[in-house]
């Protein structure tokens, strides 16, 4: 399998309290050294809770924000080293679908102009063929050609997300980065959009980086999964391995927290709460493993050293000194009788 996107040692620092006289600015690493690969045609799910840095990482990868350090290669070329014009040209090949279809579409542009613009800018079709291409894009995402004459506010949330996907597809990208693309949608609409993304991905052999907090959805659609916590990837594995034999205690905590639809013993508060005490999710940790305040396996070493992803060349990697045992800790959900 060939690598399409590769990130190495990506760091993104934000400074707080900047500009206040007499106050030292504190640097906060939203992304604290991430290595990540997306292969051609695969779906990689990037999972994490709010504040894990997954959205910031995606924006670094898309070059929407400038990372503080690190290397980002797309199809072998270092995006950070490219001159502006070359980067603009390269952008055609990776596109983003945003969470909120309400705020990510220009309210003053008719849908037709919105979809035609990238085609024109990147000179993907002769002028005379642009209208036909717009109609084709609308059809791809399940909207009628008449949508081209309408404005974003005339569409429902689900339809707007279809438009967001059509716009991303307009440049004929090889990689689609979708940041929580269905979280803001109604439950009955989510499945439509997920099915659409998967169908388009198969049809065009797109690589898909799917960012979400919804693990049931991840299990449903991902080839591989990377779990992020506090700016770092703490576990990375093929789909089946991650769900059957998670190695990082945080991954297991996440899996255990997923609500079950089976009402086996309704009303009894089925989910196991996180072992971390209430509020521990916000504890500030300096040095060592960031998960240790919530972890029941934490040792003195976890306070001293930051665990790296091991084994270095493995398909299933985890950043933990005391990983779960795939035999004895097997499976996470013995909830059903």
């Amino acid at each position: 399998m060939s690598v399409l996107l590769e990130a190495r040692g990506v760091i993104k620092e934000f400074r707080s309290a900047a500009g206040l006289p007499g106050r030292r600015t504190a640097a906060f690493q939203a992304v604290a050294g991430v290595d990540l690969q997306v292969n051609r045609g695969e779906t990689l799910a990037l999972v994490g809770e709010s504040g894990s840095g997954k959205t910031t990482l995606a924006r670094c990868l898309m070059r929407l924000v400038e990372p503080t350090a690190g290397e980002i290669r797309f199809d072998g070329r270092d995006l950070r080293a490219l001159p502006a014009a070359a980067l603009r040209a390269e952008r055609r090949r990776f596109q983003m679908v945003f969470q909120d279809p309400h705020s990510s579409l220009n309210p003053r542009l008719r849908i037709g102009s919105m979809l035609a613009e990238p085609i024109r800018v990147h000179r993907l079709r002769p002028r005379a063929e642009i209208a036909a291409r717009v109609a084709e894009l609308l059809e791809l995402v399940g909207l009628p050609p008449t949508a081209a004459a309408q404005y974003p506010h005339e569409f429902s949330g689900g339809q707007r997300q279809r438009l967001g996907i059509a716009r991303a597809l307009a440049t004929e990208p090889e990689l689609l980065v979708a940041d929580e693309p269905v979280s803001a949608l109604d439950v009955s609409i989510r499945a439509q959009i997920v099915n659409l993304l998967v169908a388009l991905q198969r049809r065009y052999g797109l690589a898909l980086l799917f960012i979400t907090h919804d693990l049931a959805l991840v299990e449903h659609l991902a080839d591989r999964v990377a779990v992020m916590y506090r700016g770092r990837i703490v576990e990375e594995a093929p789909n089946a391995a991650l769900f059957a034999t998670p190695r990082h205690p945080y991954t297991r905590a996440l899996l255990r927290a997923v609500p079950r639809v089976r009402p086996a013993s309704a009303g009894e508060g089925l989910r196991e709460a996180d072992p971390g005490a209430s509020g521990a999710e916000d504890a500030v940790v300096s040095g060592g493993c960031a998960y240790r305040p919530r972890c029941d396996r934490a040792s003195a070493r976890c306070a001293r050293e930051i665990p790296l992803l091991v084994p270095p060349a493995g398909a299933h990697r985890y950043a933990c000194f005391h990983p779960l045992d795939p035999e004895t800790d097997r499976n996470f959900s013995p909830r059903e009788p």
Binding site: Q192, P263, G269
Partner: protein, 325 residues
């Protein structure tokens, strides 16, 4: 036994021609000590139903009919002063976004004290005692009383909000999407806390949510709303294993489930768009999205059909849907 009873509640907004009915003939009942789900998507009317219970409808909206009784006493038409005593008194409220519900410039302790004094005249000692009891109930450390809302995590803020809601010693709690803005691990903690409060205090909790999984694991009964109407109600185990309305069945089928990854790429989706209350279809509001719809569904508005103890569905084909035929 006290109960909160809503009977044939209708809520409407003024429209260009006729009023737009956003809640139509909704009837529901909540007993002390039970946690009941009110499930629906955007525009289903679930939140407006809850706001109507408290006389907190947004400007323009008004109750067009029906009744709301708390332990037999009619709340509709009560003067605002008496309604205020009910709100935060007998009925507590918890919203989705705890940050906007808290006063950013006051310490948590101050806000708790104010909530305690709002409905009862308490001495300084009583306030102190009740504050620490409340802290115990929601499992927050004393030191948080000195904090301001922005210094707390999302889960802690939701606990603070629960404290404020409990300060008036309510017998009912309306919780509108209380876990939606939270991460899954924190969500689990808050739901466990709600379950504890239900048990320990005998609270009746109406959990308003779009999340079927949250209902499945925390509620004993549920109402499903679509386009302003309760289309199905029933005990949760029955509702989730043998739904009697195509909408409920469609929602359940469309959810990806952990441990069942077999259907990759093809989630059975409910087609079409969520109904717009301004342009409701004739007959059954769900018919444009329903695979079973026949001529009758396009013409005639279905009435609730009983499918078993406490299980009702507004569908002409309720029996067949339940049997999975």
């Amino acid at each position: 036994m006290t109960a909160l009873e809503v009977d044939s509640l209708t809520v409407a907004f003024p429209g260009p021609a006729a009023p737009v009915e956003v809640v139509r003939q909704a009837s529901l009942r909540l007993e002390a000590g039970e946690m009941v789900g009110l499930v629906g998507e955007s525009g289903s009317g679930k939140s407006l139903t809850a706001l109507a219970l408290l006389g907190l409808l947004p400007a323009g909206a008004r109750v067009g009919g029906g009744s709301i009784r708390l332990a037999g006493r009619e709340l509709l038409g009560l003067p605002e002063r008496e309604l205020r005593a009910v709100r935060g008194g007998a009925i507590g409220l918890v919203f989705q976004e705890p940050l906007s519900a808290l006063n950013p410039v006051l310490t948590i302790g101050r806000q708790v004290r104010e909530a305690l004094r709002a409905h009862r005249s308490l001495s300084r000692e009583q306030v102190a005692t009740e504050t620490s009891e409340l802290l115990d109930l929601v499992a927050l450390p004393v030191r948080l009383l000195e904090s301001h809302p922005h210094q707390l995590s999302g889960g802690q803020r939701q606990r603070v909000l629960l404290m404020l809601a409990l300060a008036g010693r309510p017998s009912f709690l309306l919780a509108d999407e209380p876990t939606t803005a939270l991460d899954v691990t924190v969500q689990a903690q808050i739901l466990a806390l709600l379950a504890d409060l239900r048990r320990e205090l005998g609270l009746g909790i109406l959990l308003i949510t779009h999340d079927l999984a949250v209902v499945a694991e925390s509620c004993s009964r549920a109402y499903v709303m679509y386009a302003g109407e309760i289309v199905e109600e029933g005990p949760v185990p029955v509702l989730f294993s043998t739904p009697g309305h195509p909408y409920t069945a469609g929602l359940l089928a469309a959810l990806p489930r952990l441990g069942e990854p077999g259907r990759r790429g093809e989630l059975p989706a409910v087609p079409g768009q969520v109904a717009d209350p301004r342009r409701l279809p004739e007959g059954c509001a769900f018919h444009p999205r329903c695979a079973r719809a026949v001529e009758r569904c396009r013409r005639e508005h279905p009435l609730p059909v009983s499918l078993g103890p406490g299980h009702r569905s507004r569908c002409f084909f309720a029996e067949q849907v339940r049997a999975g035929r």
